[in-house]
Symmetry: C2
Subunit: 230 residues, 2 copies
DNA sequence: ATTTCGAAATTACAAAATGTTACAATTAAT
DNA sequence: ATTAATTGTAACATTTTGTAATTTCGAAAT
C-alpha cells in the first residue's frame, strides 16, 4: 500500500474470452453475472463478525478496511481501490469492517462459488494465493511504517504511496486528490487528526507540498519528500 | 500472532501415508526428502532481497521475521514457531530477513518444486492460500496492536498471545518462557527496550505477572492482564 | 565450584514527540 | 443563508523516548 505494492487484480480471469475452455467460460459467466452494488459514502459493505457470504471486487471508489476496538479507537488496515478484491481468505466471518469513504461501486461474488471453483481449478487457487500474498506484503509494509516511523516519516511514506498510485493510473506530475479525510489518514497511520494536520502544514511550510482546498496535494519537491520518508 | 491466530500447518499433506495416491506419494517424498538445516541462535536463514529459492518449515526453535530500515531501525513482522512456513508468496526475492532467535531446525523445500506442484494440485494451492491468509490476519492484528495500543496495552496483548500459544502446546497454567530478548519484543511492538522493561516492571509491581530470571513469566492475574490489553 | 568477563536488562532522570483540549476557520450540505 | 461537518491552530499535558549509570545473568576459563 505504502510503497510499490502489487495490486490484486484479474483473479477471475485475465485471458481473452476466445481462449477460454467451455468450463472456464461457464465459470467466468457466473462471476460476470454477479450483481453490482452501489455503496454511498460512509456506508458499510460489511462489518467485522458478519458471515462472509461474498467477495467484493471494487469497480469504483475507495473502501477503507478497518478494525475497531471496544472504546472506539480504529485502525485502518488498508484502502481498497478499483481492481482490488475484498474479503479473501477462507474464513467463516469477515474480520474487519469495510466502509466506503466516497461513493463506490462493487461487484459481488458469492464466496461459495469462488471457493468451489478454486477447489478444482489450480490456476484460480494460485491467483487467490497470489492476491492474498500481495495483501500480506502491503499489511507488513504498513506495519513497518507505523511501528518505526515518526509522524513525519509516516505522512511522507503515505503521500509517496498515493503519488505512485496516481502515477500508475496515468494522472501524472505529483498531483493527486486526497479522497480520504484527515481522520482516515490518522487511523491508517496510528496518529491523531491534529498530528496529521500539523505535519501536513509543516510540509507545506517547507515547500515540499502544496495543499489546495484541503483535498488536492501537489508535490513540489519529490526528492525532499522521499528523503523525509527515510 | 497476538490473539487466536490460526497456524499454518500441514501444507504439504495431512493425510496418513496409506491414503495417498501414487502421485501424491511421489510428491510427498520429494518434500520429505528435503534437507534439514540447523540454524544457530542469531544466524540468518535468509535476508531481504535474497532470491527466494526455498520455503522453510520450522521444526524447532523460533524465527524472527523482520524488516530493517536504512538507519538500522528494525520492525519484526512476525515470529515463526514450529509448524509454521516461512517464505510463502509467489515472489522473486524474499522481502524480509529471517533470523533465528535461538537454536532452530528447519526443513528446506525448493520453492520451484512447491509451486509446480501447486500449479496442478488445487488442494495444495488452496492450502497455500489458507496459510497466507492466516499470516495476513496475524499481520493485521499486530498492526492494530502497534497502531492503536499504548505501551501497556501492547505488552499485555503480547503476553496474552504467548500464554495462548503455550496453552495450546500443553504447557499450562500461565507459565511460559520468553525465548525472545527485550529488543525483539521492542522491535515487534514498536517500542524501545527501556519501555518494554519499564512496562514489565510495572506489571510486576501490580502483581499481574512474576518474572523469573528475566526469561520466565508467570501470569498471576489473568483477568487483570486481559483487562489491560483492552 | 569459583572467578571473570561481556551481553542484556533494569532503573532514574532529562528531553522530545505526540496526544489533549479548546476554539476558530473553512467547506459542504440542507 | 444557515447549519453541520471537517479542517486548522495553539497552549498545555502526557506518554514515550533518549541517555547513562547500575545491576543481573550466563558463558567461558580457571
Amino acid at each position: 500500500m505504502l510503497s510499490g505494492t502489487t495490486r490484486a487484480h484479474d483473479i477471475v480471469s485475465d485471458k481473452p474470452h476466445a481462449l477460454l475452455s467451455s468450463d472456464e467460460r461457464k465459470q467466468r459467466e457466473s462471476f460476470e453475472n454477479a450483481p453490482f452494488r452501489r455503496i454511498e459514502a460512509k456506508e458499510y459493505i460489511f462489518c467485522d463478525g458478519d458471515p462472509r457470504t461474498h467477495i467484493f471486487h471494487v469497480e469504483q471508489g475507495v473502501i477503507a478496511l478497518s478494525k475497531v476496538l471496544g472504546d472506539g479507537r480504529r485502525q485502518i488496515i488498508d484502502f481498497a481501490y478499483p481492481g482490488d478484491y475484498i474479503g479473501l481468505g477462507l474464513r467463516q466471518d469477515y474480520i474487519f469492517d469495510a466502509q466506503a469513504i466516497c461513493l463506490a461501486k462493487v461487484k459481488c461474488i458469492p464466496a461459495a462459488t469462488l471457493e468451489q471453483a478454486a477447489a478444482s481449478d489450480p490456476n484460480l487457487a494460485l491467483k487467490l494465493y497470489k492476491a492474498v500474498s500481495a495483501e500480506l506484503a502491503t499489511a507488513r509494509n504498513l506495519l513497518v511504517c507505523v511501528g518505526q516511523g515518526t509522524a513525519m516519516e509516516r505522512i511522507a511514506m503515505f503521500l509517496i504511496g498515493l503519488r505512485d498510485r496516481a502515477a500508475v493510473s496515468g494522472v501524472n506530475d505529483g498531483v493527486f486528490s486526497l479522497v480520504m479525510r484527515r481522520s482516515d489518514i490518522a487511523d491508517l497511520l496510528g496518529l491523531t487528526i491534529e498530528t496529521v494536520s500539523r505535519t501536513l502544514t509543516k510540509l507545506r511550510g517547507m515547500r515540499v507540498i502544496e495543499i489546495v482546498n484541503a483535498t488536492e496535494i501537489h508535490i513540489l519537491d519529490e526528492n525532499k519528500l522521499e528523503q523525509l520518508a527515510a
